[in-house]
């Protein structure tokens, strides 16, 4: 039940959005994430976006992993 998938918002109409992941389009609800914008990635859970993903944080996390991998060589 915890499963949520990162998907990209391609279109917004009111409280609903079209999203895309892996070449597949879906229609979802933005009732829980009214701040989401076209181009954002959101966590999709049972038809609803539950969180807008933070691209800056994602990039920083990956950089942290790269630093750790380099330090351990």
């Amino acid at each position: 039940m915890c499963l949520a998938v990162p998907v990209k918002i391609t279109k917004i109409a009111g409280k609903e959005a079209d999203v895309e992941v892996g070449g597949i389009s879906q229609h979802i609800s933005l009732w829980l994430t009214p701040e989401a914008r076209v181009g954002d990635y959101v966590l999709l859970h049972t038809g609803y976006a539950i969180s807008v993903l933070d691209q800056t944080e994602a990039a920083e996390t990956l950089k942290l992993f790269e630093d750790i991998a380099r330090a351990d060589k």
């Binding site: 039940m1 539950i50 351990d72």
Partner: protein, 361 residues
């Protein structure tokens, strides 16, 4: 940035594994609360990658698994009411109740439909105005806001034949129950990533503060889980106990305030019956009085006969982290995904199902 493959990079994972091995000196037991983490840990071979001094135990974070037999019986009783269409997430269908499962009720003529989303259940209600659609609401704080939103949407759109049987549960109270029971000594908590996306990492402050146990919120890709273990081990080695977020791209300390607002608007806490743990105060959600029109427990007076627990099934002890599926006499011999005795074998996030599919013989 697509947020998936980047976090499955094996070189980055190797770096994290080396880092953990380098700094982890003490024996530690970490609990992953969430069923999604249990499966990911198996799928990505996390246990094999970690040094032997780090033990991972599973907790009661599978909402289907912790649904009490008596509540399954209620859902089945509702399925047998003429004019009712049951809408449910797929996992619930094969969970055995006292006498049958929802799937068996369907085979016996009940109208039971699998849905991916509460929105699908709303659609079924709109398409079947002469019937009553009862959505079996199972899930923690990740899912409960979506069901709350569906109730508000039903209200907004004037859909009058939609009801929810709320079996929703909250995570922090059950974690408190497990810690208070003291059956399992924990050195760290791998906090559920998507529950925390809604609740915020602040929901776990009481664990660090009152029990001195380090908490780190983890995502679900292999590097996410390894990063979480790395951060927990660092805390343990430094004698720290605080709440940290590893899953920073999806989780903040405050969480999703809109989702929390909608959840609080529609639901209020109530006592809930957890498989293996009995009644836990303020750990369930029921619809508020003003949404009584959408409450299946108000619309239908269902009193099923006393529940019969499956004989020999130790799902309850597995959910509390005191036993593993390997300890169960029925595991693999009688109980399998094709012939499940208890919910932990049915659910895609259940410990027994994960051990069966991914564990070594």
């Amino acid at each position: 940035m697509k947020y998936i493959t980047e976090f499955r990079n094996s070189e980055l994972a190797q770096g994290l594994i080396s880092d953990i091995r380098g700094k982890s000196k003490h024996k530690v037991r970490l609990m992953e609360f969430c069923g999604g983490h249990t499966v990911a840990i198996f799928k990505y071979g996390i246990r094999q990658a970690l040094p032997a001094n780090i033990e991972l135990v599973s907790g009661p974070g599978c909402p289907v698994c912790v649904t009490a037999t008596s509540d399954i019986d209620k859902a089945i009783a509702l399925a047998m009411v003429p004019g009712v269409i049951i809408a449910s997430f797929g996992d619930m269908l094969r969970v055995p109740g006292s006498r049958a499962s929802l799937q068996q009720a369907r085979a016996a003529g009940a109208d039971v439909r699998i849905v991916y989303s509460a929105l699908d259940a709303l659609k079924i209600a709109q398409e079947n105005p002469s019937k009553t659609v009862v959505f079996i609401g199972v899930g923690f704080e990740t899912t409960a806001p979506t069901i709350a939103a569906s109730v508000l949407q039903a209200q907004e759109q004037g859909i009058k034949n939609y009801r929810v049987l709320s079996l929703h549960k909250l995570c922090p109270p059950v974690i408190k129950t497990i810690l208070d029971a003291g059956e399992v000594k924990l050195n760290g908590l791998i906090c559920p990533g998507h529950v925390s996306a809604v609740t915020g990492s602040n929901a776990w402050e009481f664990v660090a503060r009152d029990y001195g146990i380090p908490c780190v919120v983890a995502g679900f890709e292999p590097t996410d889980i390894l990063q979480c273990v790395d951060m927990l081990v660092t805390q343990v080695e430094n004698h720290a106990s605080k709440v940290e977020i590893a899953y920073k791209r999806g989780v903040t300390p405050d969480g999703n305030l809109q989702a929390q607002k909608i959840m609080a608007q529609v639901f209020e806490p109530c006592p809930a019956n957890w498989r293996g743990m009995g009644l836990v105060p303020d750990s369930g959600l029921k619809l508020r009085q003003k949404f009584a029109d959408f409450d299946a427990s108000v619309a239908f007076d269902i009193k099923p006969e006393p529940a019969i627990e499956p004989k020999g099934c130790i799902c309850g002890e597995i959910l509390r982290g005191v036993k593993t599926p390997a300890d169960c006499r029925l595991f693999r011999k009688v109980c399998s995904p094709e012939n499940p005795v208890g919910p932990c074998m049915v659910s895609s996030e259940g410990s027994c199902s994960a051990y069966y599919l991914y564990g070594e013989d």
